[in-house]
């Protein structure tokens, strides 16, 4: 299989890899770079567990070809914390019982981050809309919605 070089930044760090032509970003991140915070839940685009942020936009890494991310800035939940210091979304998910099995959590946090990056004070409706492409089978979503709203409030307090 033909290999092609790809360079991008992952959570601010430079990465250069040879990937198989036609391979998905999901495979490149998990299998080449070892960022297993990105989860393979369906590889059909329906569950959102593999969601990452590419150049500021939420994407499904399972449907994105790695080669097309050459030069991009990629963010994943694996790189969100600064050492021991959690991102406000991570803190809110942890404290608000917004995780159960944890499998959807990284993708859910990315969807939430993409929302808050563009809309720091979202309404509940905005939150529901923003995570409508992410499936959680455990929580019933309410704790997740509350955690995202809590993180937005925490953000506005720290910005004030």
């Amino acid at each position: 299989m033909k290999k092609v070089p790809v360079q991008f930044t992952l959570n601010g760090e430079d990465k250069a890899e040879f990937v198989e032509s036609g391979a998905t970003l999901l495979k490149a991140l998990r299998e080449k770079i070892g960022d297993t915070s990105v989860k393979a839940g369906c590889q059909q685009g329906t569950c959102g567990s593999c969601a990452v942020i590419v150049d500021g936009e939420l994407r499904l890494s399972c449907l994105t070809l790695a080669e097309r991310c050459d030069g991009a800035a990629i963010e994943t939940t694996g790189g969100l914390a600064h050492g021991e210091v959690l991102h406000p979304l991570q803190r809110a998910f942890n404290e608000g019982f917004a995780t159960q099995c944890g499998f959807c959590t990284p993708g859910m946090i990315m969807a939430a981050k993409a929302l808050l990056d563009g809309n720091p004070q979202p309404s509940r409706e905005d939150v529901v809309e923003a995570i409508s492409g992410n499936i959680c089978r455990c929580t019933g979503y309410e704790p997740i919605i509350q955690a995202i709203l809590a993180a937005a409030r925490a953000n506005s307090l720290s910005a004030a």
């Binding site: 369906c42 567990s49 914390a81 499998f103 959807c104």
Partner: protein, 455 residues
């Protein structure tokens, strides 16, 4: 959170330190940082990908399997067939003496449901495995299929599973699990009203976000480490040991982190064949269901058909309850004979009824084998019972909640399967639910207690 400590205050010491306190989940920090290790979160050099070739028919005889082209396909390392499996016909519950063995790990002469595993391809890449799977040629003679409980039990129906000989499980008690309590016929004869209704449900898939799977690593010690998301670690260990005729000490099962299970990961399906693949190739093997396999292949909650006939008095007392339950196991037993048995014991629900008759059948059809799911064997029964309770309440002109107070079981009542009721808190739960939801309930029901009957 609010604790209502006035209930059962005399039954406990009021020294609760943890209950009622918020405590962070011990695993949540890993979840929010993406560092929780699920079984698939490991990269292994030389990993092989296992892909199943599955039956496209509900019921068919296999005349021949031609692997020549698939075997030559680039990237294919090995193809497993039934001949490779040391103990190919098994049943999970053999561990608790429930037989007969009725399911093949890989099909031999017949497939009994659409999706049944026939041969396993082991290849260097998923793509190569998919390409090779397309090149496997199976010659089928399609057979008539039964796709519902009624079709399966109709006279002259094609036999789904020859290991049983008829389209239902034969218990030591006969064609069904039976509960006999009091005299239902006498109960019906003395009842003011009789209501008979039939309830049905379709199969329900658990749809966990993480699909079923495992990764197996052959170790230098001769052991096999199997990273799995099974919900039934010891069932998996013991059944794998039987299927592979391999000493359990050689099997190192690693699990406990499950990306959603809900009962859907208790069957022993992926591990034995993946371990066999690792053994025969000497390489690590990954067998992970695609989303489509998770939805179509992994066992769902069983479809059920329930006939409930009740005799009820004008004052709301249920005096007789007759239940015929049919649980659709699909083509193989898996956990269903046990599920149907649980279903029998669960009737007549959390109510005290003096005359009860229950027959619960485990039925075989050419559908995807069903198995455990939250409240296994009882959830659909509860749905039917509670709809029936509402209908009965309407029939006698009572409020549905008050109707349930009249019939609720209490401590000391003998249940239909002859276990005395203990620790029943149904009355108190309903009282609290009525208060919390502002549902008006007459005072006499608010004075009731599970611990003693009034008067």
């Amino acid at each position: 959170m609010e604790l209502r400590k006035e209930y059962f205050a005399d039954e406990r010491k009021d020294d609760l330190k943890e209950i009622g306190q918020p405590r962070l989940r011990s695993d949540a920090l890993g979840h929010v940082t993406g560092t929780t290790t699920f079984f698939a979160d490991r990269n292994l050099p030389g990993l092989l990908h296992l892909k199943m070739v599955r039956s496209p028919h509900h019921h068919a005889r296999i005349r021949a399997i031609d692997l020549s082209e698939a075997g030559r396909h680039p990237g294919v390392v090995r193809i497993l067939t039934a001949d490779d499996v040391p103990h190919n016909v098994y049943t999970i519950l053999t561990l608790i003496q429930v037989g007969p063995e009725d399911e093949t790990v890989l099909a031999t002469d017949k497939v009994r449901w659409k999706g049944e595993a026939i041969v396993a391809i082991l290849a260097d890449s998923e793509r190569a495995a998919h390409e090779a799977a397309e090149r496997v040629k199976v010659d089928y003679e399609v057979l008539p299929a039964v796709l519902s409980i009624d079709e399966a039990l109709a006279p002259g129906a094609p036999i789904v599973n020859e290991y049983h000989g008829q389209n239902y499980y034969r218990y030591d008690s006969g064609e069904s699990r039976k509960v006999r309590f009091g005299d239902v016929e006498a109960g019906f004869a003395g009842a003011d009203h009789i209501l008979e209704q039939t309830y049905g449900s379709g199969p329900i898939e658990h749809a966990p976000t993480e699909t079923t799977g495992c990764i197996v690593v052959p170790e230098g010690s001769g052991r096999y480490t199997c990273y799995t998301n099974t919900q039934a670690m010891f069932f998996t260990l013991d059944n794998t040991s039987i299927i592979l005729q391999m000493d359990g000490a050689k099997l190192h099962m690693v699990g406990g982190t499950v990306g959603g299970g809900f009962g859907g990961k208790v069957d022993v399906i992926v591990e034995p064949i993946a371990i066999l693949g690792a053994k025969l190739t000497g390489r690590p093997v990954s067998f992970i269901y695609s989303r489509e396999e998770e939805m179509q292949i992994s066992s769902p909650r069983a479809a059920e058909k329930l006939v409930i006939k009740d005799g009820v008095m004008r004052d709301g007392r249920i005096v007789a309850r007759y239940v015929k339950a049919y649980i659709d196991a699909g083509a193989y037993s898996r956990h269903s004979p046990y599920g149907a048995q649980k279903s029998a014991a669960h009737f007549p629900g959390p109510y005290t009824v003096p005359n009860v008759w229950v027959d619960s059948h485990c039925v075989y059809t050419n559908r995807t084998p069903s198995s455990a799911m939250r409240g296994f064997g009882v959830t659909i029964g509860d749905f039917a019972l509670e709809v029936q309770m509402d209908k009965l309440a309407r029939l006698v002109g009572m409020d549905p909640l008050e109707f349930r107070f009249v019939n609720a079981y209490r401590d000391g009542d003998m249940k239909a399967h002859r276990q005395p009721t203990e620790g029943a808190a149904l009355i108190e739960c309903m009282q609290e639910a009525a208060r919390a939801s502002n549902w008006p309930v007459s005072e006499k029901y608010l004075q009731m207690s599970s611990a003693r009957r009034e008067g």
